[in-house]
Symmetry: C2
């Protein structure tokens, strides 16, 4: 990749991070291009679709989410606490940009989405937590990690799309109660 291309790529990405935070993931792509000081053509060459751009921004998240999962496991807390911690961290990350949570929830079951791979990484992180607790015998029989992932993404989506600053804890409590052993 040519040096100027690399520069523009990075500039677009850092601008997108700002604009998506300000206006959510539905912000105008032309505006991002303008504020990054490049033409729309340049933006679309680097990121053919909005999803591709969101996907590129997600790289940071997936790393952090993965780390959070391992950190949660390392705490060695009881199942309830560990899950609550993990779920809350996960939601915090995927709602960083308004509208991102629903895109992630949709991409999770869509292998054609550019975000699919990243979703897999996050799903893996979740699986590690679930498997760990399963091994400790603290979960109900036949808890499906993928399913849990979908459910928690749903909670994130609701919280994200609500105009009020919704507390996710009560919803997560229900989910946690639904998967830990009695």
């Amino acid at each position: 990749m040519r040096a100027d291309a690399r520069r523009n790529y990075d500039k677009i990405l850092s601008t997108a991070r700002i604009v998506f935070t300000e206006r959510g993931t539905d912000a105008s792509l032309d505006e991002i291009a303008r504020r990054a000081g490049v033409g729309p053509g340049t933006l679309y060459r680097h990121f053919p679709t909005r999803e591709a751009l969101v996907d590129a921004l997600m790289q940071d998240w997936t790393d952090r989410v993965s780390a959070d999962a391992d950190a949660a496991i390392a705490t060695d807390l009881p199942a309830r606490e560990m899950l609550s911690d993990w779920f809350e961290h996960f939601i915090e990350h995927i709602t960083l940009h308004r509208g991102a949570a629903s895109k992630i929830a949709a991409a999770m079951d869509d292998p054609a989405s550019p975000m699919y791979r990243k979703c897999q990484v996050m799903a893996d992180a979740n699986r590690r937590v679930i498997d760990h607790l399963e091994a400790r015998g603290e979960l109900r029989p036949s808890v499906d990690p993928v399913n849990v992932m979908r459910l928690v993404s749903g909670v994130a989506t609701v919280a994200d799309s609500s105009c009020t600053d919704l507390d996710v804890t009560p919803m997560l409590d229900v989910v946690v109660d639904g998967i830990v052993a009695d």
Copy 2:
């Protein structure tokens, strides 16, 4: 209201029902106007926003959802079965048009939304089911109906936005396990 206005209003509504079913709730409003045989101005006079149009279509649903709740209560089934039935029916209704579930989830906590009232009716229906089971002592202590509603809407949103035809049952099972008494 003038007779021709009434005619157009109804025509727009029935056309919207078709187009929203075909293309989801993001379909072009001008297309709905065109297919209804009216000018865009006429559509926007009757329904100033997309939400207002979706809201008008929702009238049928709220009635049916309300009836479903009462029907579920009348079955007198055990808590798990009753809740599963009710949740599945509810989701079936609010995912009638692609994109509707997320709009409803968002409107649920937004008194400014034109759909807010309808959401209240559905939330009331849910509250009746929960309260009934609570009275029978089959639920965990302090189950919040509003919270349950949000959670189930989240499940609906995930199912609706997934490109695959996702089965909601496993997710609902977790929710049900999370609210019924051990």
